[in-house]
Subunit: 353 residues, 2 copies
């Protein structure tokens, strides 16, 4: 508290990210990072980059990176916006599109940063309860609104919504619809092709999960060029150069190495299916996941207790002390070895009383 | 224009950064970059960094970097905030402190991003005309206000304000005073020591100029811990991880190599004095500079014309088509060789009619 803060700052309820212990002593399955390193081409690009050029400002428009993304997704460069992580892209999107006379709507269980952005930009919002089984009934979103945002797959539930539902949403809605696809590369089908048909659809993705580049901070949005222009107007009123030069060039190399990307995504999907099966055998109910994490609750042991016991044993998972999900653990898919360590540790914990 | 934009986005008047041509064919004296590369220790740190770790999120609190800055400036870690370039630090500061019932005040000639932030956060502002000779009369700021921000040295004038003036400002003022010290390392005396005495003083600096790291995007603020906490509340409501892992570790190495930092700053100051003298001989009035750029107008030739002729000849400088300064050129101090190229090119242009 301080007399110098604006009223807004007094009212803010900031987001709390998952723990990032810097000692690297944990099997870290708590922040949905990729267990595999970035493509060797990314490493080579950073190593070969002439560091003397860091004295110069980066390209403020991230032209090469936007070009690479446009080519990958079969859109034009002016359909692509890039930001310093998809959180920054989301923040700008809230400010650019969602402060309307009608409330923004989103699922009651979804990315817990959404209500924080609403606080930051004083956006009125209304949450739509998702079903008991954590599936989303798209008809529930057919209400008067100033915007819709849904993660697909949803977080923290890991569950996928069919593309037909998203199309229905865009068609019936006269405000901006954002699909937050942070986890789409682990088994989902992206809504990006629909952006060519619906000028109110914005799709947001990230390099942090499927491209193993959480440490470099890169996210992007794809949509109609008028939406992108709106984002650029906000960005250019906030920070002309949000993406550093190394990140821009490294990201291009990541996109160029498609086979590495496909391989690592597939490995994670395989490990996820295996781990889900093993957890089920240990007495967990595991929601059907299309993400690089699973959301699971145990038939007899409390999630909070399991979280603590796992942490004591050197395995970090994520626990949300929130209504409806306070008996679930969100577990990132690590390497096979890491998941074996998780399973073994859990087995031991479950054998104790 | 789009029906989907918020009213705010329609009204925004974004900042336009200096040109960043990507072909590197120009002698680039237009965006106040450092002509010298970053410290070799920075390069070594980036080269030696294990790129596999980029799969992990960075430390959201940039602990080591804040520690290094705290140590350098003789303050505590909780007196330090870091951001993705000082523009981001400024943006958060405007939102954290300056939306008040009374207007923010700043000099009519100063960093042209300030009015843009006011637009972004709907902050009322009042500009204070600086003197005819571009000096700042501190008594003019002694009015009822919701905050004060002044660059020191001022941009684009390059002129320094004495520390006693800043102290007077903090003492007489009951709102937050921000001193934007992007250029302080080229001959000015920082107000940072005053932050221990005045809890309403925030000093903002950057790695982009004196530390040759514009390409990495790093800025910071130093002030009373309550001010820093206000900034953290905004940051954690916007983007939990604004500084990428490479930038965090590279910045620490930059701070550790103080002798390189001192050397390059001194070289730039020497080159500046030399160039100022030579420009004076060519018929320019050069304002007394404490920055890594000079602000100059010619006795007979228009600045706009000189800007164009220089650009044609491969030398980029900055021209602002704005009242009071539309006959001035802002010229970044390059290497001695680059400045010789500037002087030679100007001589040639001035000999033509």
């Amino acid at each position: 508290m301080s007399q110098y803060w604006t009223d807004l700052v007094h009212k803010l309820d900031p987001y709390i990210p998952g723990e990032q212990p810097q000692d690297q002593q944990y099997v870290k399955l708590n922040t949905n990072e990729n267990p595999y390193p970035p493509s060797p081409k990314v490493t080579a690009t950073i190593d070969n980059y002439n560091k003397d050029h860091l004295k110069l400002y980066p390209d403020p428009e991230s032209t090469q990176l936007r070009q690479a993304l446009a080519q990958r997704f079969g859109v034009q460069q002016d359909n692509v916006f890039v930001g310093n992580g998809s959180d920054e892209v989301l923040a700008h999107s809230f400010q650019a599109f969602f402060k309307q006379s009608k409330p923004l709507v989103f699922p009651d269980l979804s990315y817990s940063f959404y209500p924080v952005y609403c606080g930051l930009y004083e956006i009125e919002s209304k949450t739509i309860p998702i079903n008991e089984d954590f599936s989303i009934n798209i008809n529930d979103f057919d209400i008067d609104n100033g915007g819709i945002i849904i993660p697909n797959p949803n977080a923290p539930t890991s569950m996928l919504m069919p593309l037909a539902d998203i199309e229905q949403l865009c068609k019936n809605n006269s405000s901006v619809v954002i699909i937050d696809e942070a986890y789409i590369d682990f088994g989902g089908e992206s809504a990006i092709p629909l952006t060519r048909k619906y000028d109110n659809l914005l799709v947001i993705q990230t390099f942090s999960k499927s491209r193993s580049l959480a440490g470099l901070r890169l996210g992007y949005a794809i949509g109609h060029k008028d939406l992108i222009e709106g984002l650029n107007r906000v960005k250019d009123s906030f920070n002309s150069y949000p993406i550093d030069s190394l990140a821009q060039t490294a990201a291009v190399s990541s996109i160029e190495d498609d086979s590495y990307f496909q391989q690592t995504c597939q490995k994670i999907v395989q490990t996820r299916e295996q781990a889900s099966e093993q957890l089920t055998r240990l007495g967990f109910k595991v929601l059907p996941s299309a993400a690089n994490f699973i959301f699971a609750c145990h038939e007899s042991r409390s999630a909070q207790e399991l979280y603590s016991e796992l942490k004591k044993a050197g395995v970090l998972v994520r626990y949300f002390n929130k209504p409806r999900i306070d008996n679930y653990l969100r577990i990132t898919i690590g390497t096979e070895q890491e998941m074996q360590k998780l399973i073994a540790t859990l087995s031991k914990i479950l054998q104790q009383n």
